[in-house]
């Protein structure tokens, strides 16, 4: 991050913009704003932002539609602001290609954390998927397919390892059930979430100090799972 990341803030509510823009600027981001979907799409082309914060309830274009159009031409991370309670909306934007979501009303730190995670993904994308990753107590060695908690090795089945590796590589970021199923079992398994529930149960038993109150492998109810930001 040699130069400040540029964030495009898209929200039709003036108050949200007036509150969020100074917050983001204060953290060193370069902020551009848009109030409609058309403006946002134009800004994506003209300003090439490093990240988009997108409100789903825009007056002119559906949020999902904006995600789809942005994805069609760019891989820029999208963090969605959702005011509706509807989980299906979140899942569908995540499946279309949004990177994460925050539900209103959110606190500033929550949004900032999501933005950091999404940006880190961009700036670390070129790195090899191999190597060793240490998050909190947990260390994962992609090359040797080993997982350590502290000094103690945890024995995982291949599928458990894949799931943990996937979540840790995307630590802090929500992965939808669908995305996980597709990555581990293939595209035919996306409608069989029970595979995932069972596997997650097993993995938590091995990895979590207290499987009933997970601190690493967090559920996002109705949406997916997230490896805790540590």
């Amino acid at each position: 991050m040699s130069q400040a990341a540029r964030i495009l803030l898209v929200d039709d509510e003036a108050s949200i913009q007036r509150a969020l823009a100074p917050l983001l600027r204060s953290r060193g981001y370069d902020v551009a704003v848009a109030t409609t979907g058309e403006e946002a799409l134009a800004a994506v082309r003209s300003q090439a932002p490093d990240l988009i914060v997108l409100d789903l309830g825009l007056p002119d274009i559906e949020g999902t539609e904006i995600c789809r159009r942005v994805r069609a031409e760019s891989a820029v991370p999208i963090v969605v602001l959702s005011a509706r309670g509807g989980e299906s909306d979140k899942v569908s934007v995540l499946d279309i290609g949004a990177d994460d979501y925050v539900t209103k009303p959110f606190g500033p730190e929550e949004l900032l954390a999501r933005i950091r995670v999404a940006l880190r993904r961009v700036f670390s994308e070129d790195e090899m998927p191999g190597g060793r990753l240490q998050l909190g107590d947990l260390a994962i060695d992609y090359d040797r397919r080993r997982v350590l908690r502290g000094d103690e090795e945890i024995r995982l089945t291949p599928k458990e390892f894949e799931l943990l590796a996937l979540l840790m590589r995307n630590s802090g970021r929500v992965l939808t059930h669908r995305a996980i199923l597709k990555a581990i079992w293939g595209p035919n398994a996306v409608n069989q979430p029970e595979h995932l529930w069972v596997l997650m149960g097993q993995l938590r038993k091995k990895v979590e100090p207290d499987p009933a109150h997970p601190r690493y492998l967090l559920s996002e109810p109705w949406v997916g799972y997230r490896f805790a930001i540590l």
Binding site: S15, I16, A19, S26, P59, G85, G107
Partner: protein, 508 residues
């Protein structure tokens, strides 16, 4: 009715006797004919015509008279009832037998025809009754209506539907006659109907028919059955109706009663469904309308705590908070008003005000929304009106807010205030896209959002419904229309007393 029948039969019998006399006279005096065969055939013709036109008894009476005439005038020795030739005894007896049997046959055919006509008539009445029942869609007074239909369609001076309610009876009666039914008798008939279900093939009725004597009148009581189970009783008086027909009426009535219950259930299910829908609509829009201001407030407040803000930015952040708190306050006020309107807790307190005061109060309430709109106000008369200023201003405020929200920024809003002797009229005209034809009928419904507007404009769909609710509390009206030159116009009318202002009085 039976009396007029008897009179008609007597008349036909008299005509038949006259015809017999005429034939006798014509044959004996005019034609000097004495052939008994010719006379007998002529008499037989008269008897048959009588049988066809009237009752069996009239025909038999005519046969007997004809038989006597045949004997007296046409069988030797003439002029006496004595018969010389024994062969003529046989002829006379044969004539009587033939005429009686022929009369019988003819009368039987007539009876059958009469019965068929009666059935047809009964069927037509039943058809009319069932059509009446099917056309009844309001469940509230369907059962009194049913009694009325029965009494009207079957020419009954008294018809009553009796439905058991615990040990007591709900009696819905109709007709010109008033008969007080005895509940104990009804209960007894009902119990009997519950116990026995037999079909009497000859009378074509089911068991359970009763007749009661009330005030010297015969009242027929028939069980109303759904399937085999009695659900009530039908009482009828004023005209003799065949038991089979009564059964048929009772059957149709039972279906009508079941239909009524079904209609009622459907109505309450519909109301429950609508309430459920309204509730979820409210929750969804509240969720949206609460979360956005809360987010802005939360972020702005934490910004204010941070040390990195410049003074000017600090003011801006607190401004954000104030604006959003105001918005939340207004939302909260709307929810409260809605609840009060629902509970019927809005009462008008009228006082003398000038229309422009009402406009000023309304403008103040929605200052945030209409701040940057050019508003043109025309106040047409200088009368004071006696209205509830709070309710009227709140209603106008909602209409103004609505006009500002649903038209593009910068377009003008025109307000016209007219106080007249019969009340206050206020119109708000905008230059927006107008109101969609599909939206017009629902504009003032609770939580209704215009098609497409639901996404474009934030709102809960409460404003106009509240405006209407408040105006109803002071007998006012509100309606909307599209203007010929584009844009929409909302009109509010509050009936009220009016008087000139003090200053106008002084100058007068």
């Amino acid at each position: 009715m039976s009396q007029s029948f008897a009179r008609r039969d007597a008349l036909i019998l008299a005509l038949a006797l006259a015809a017999i006399v005429a034939v006798t006279a014509a044959f004996r005096v005019g034609l000097h004919l004495t052939n008994p065969t010719t006379a007998a055939l002529s008499y037989l013709l008269i008897v048959l015509v009588t049988a066809a036109a009237s009752t069996l008894w009239a025909a038999i009476a005519a046969s007997c008279v004809a038989d006597l005439c045949l004997n007296y005038f046409f069988m030797p020795p003439f002029g006496t009832f004595t018969i010389a030739d024994p062969q003529n005894w046989a002829a006379l007896f044969a004539f009587l037998a033939v005429s009686v049997i022929a009369s019988n046959l003819s009368a039987a055919v007539r009876d059958r025809e009469r019965e068929a006509t009666a059935r047809h008539d009964e069927l037509a009445r039943l058809f009319d009754l069932s059509r009446d029942i099917l056309l009844t869609t309001d469940s509230r007074d369907a059962i009194p209506q049913l009694a009325l239909f029965i009494s009207r369609r079957f020419d009954l001076a008294f018809a009553a539907i009796c439905l058991p309610r615990g040990s007591d009876w709900d009696v819905f009666d109709a007709g010109t006659l008033s008969v007080t039914l005895d509940p104990t008798q009804l209960s007894e008939a009902f119990r009997a109907a519950d116990r026995a279900l037999e079909f009497d093939a000859r009378a074509r009725t089911y068991a359970g028919h009763r007749t009661a004597r009330v005030d010297g009148r015969t009242v027929h009581v028939v069980p109303l059955r759904l399937g085999t189970k009695p659900v009530g009783l039908l009482a009828a008086a004023g005209r003799a109706i065949e038991p089979g027909a009564l059964d048929a009426i009772a059957g149709v009535s039972a279906i009508a009663i079941e239909r009524t219950q079904f209609l009622e259930e459907r109505k309450s299910a519909e109301i429950a469904r609508r309430n459920e829908e309204l509730k979820s609509a409210l929750l969804a829009s509240l969720a949206h309308d609460l979360r956005t201001p809360l987010t802005a407030i939360r972020v702005a407040a934490s910004n204010l705590q941070a040390s990195w803000l410049a003074d000017s930015e600090r003011r801006d952040q607190s401004d954000v908070i104030l604006v959003e708190v105001e918005r939340l306050h207004r939302l909260f006020q709307n929810v409260l008003d809605m609840a009060r309107i629902d509970a019927g807790a809005v009462a008008a307190e009228r006082q003398w005000v000038h229309p422009s005061e009402i406009f000023e109060a309304a403008r103040e309430q929605v200052e945030q929304t209409i701040r940057d709109r050019p508003i043109e106000v025309v106040s047409e008369s200088d009368l004071l009106v006696r209205v509830d200023p709070r309710l009227t201003a709140a209603a106008l405020a909602h209409v103004l807010e609505n006009a500002a929200q649903y038209t593009s920024g910068g377009s003008a809003i025109e307000v016209r205030l007219t106080a007249a002797s019969d009340g206050l009229t206020m119109t708000v005209r905008d230059h927006g896209p107008g109101i969609g034809a599909g939206d017009l009928p629902h504009l003032f419904d609770r939580f209704y959002r215009g098609a497409g507007a639901a996404r474009r404009v934030a709102g809960t769909g409460m404003g106009l419904a509240i405006a209407r609710g408040m105006l109803i509390a002071e007998q006012g009206r509100i309606w909307a229309e599209n203007c010929a030159g584009g844009g929409a116009q909302f009109s509010i009318v509050v009936p009220a007393e009016s008087r000139p202002t003090a200053s106008a009085e002084q100058t007068a």
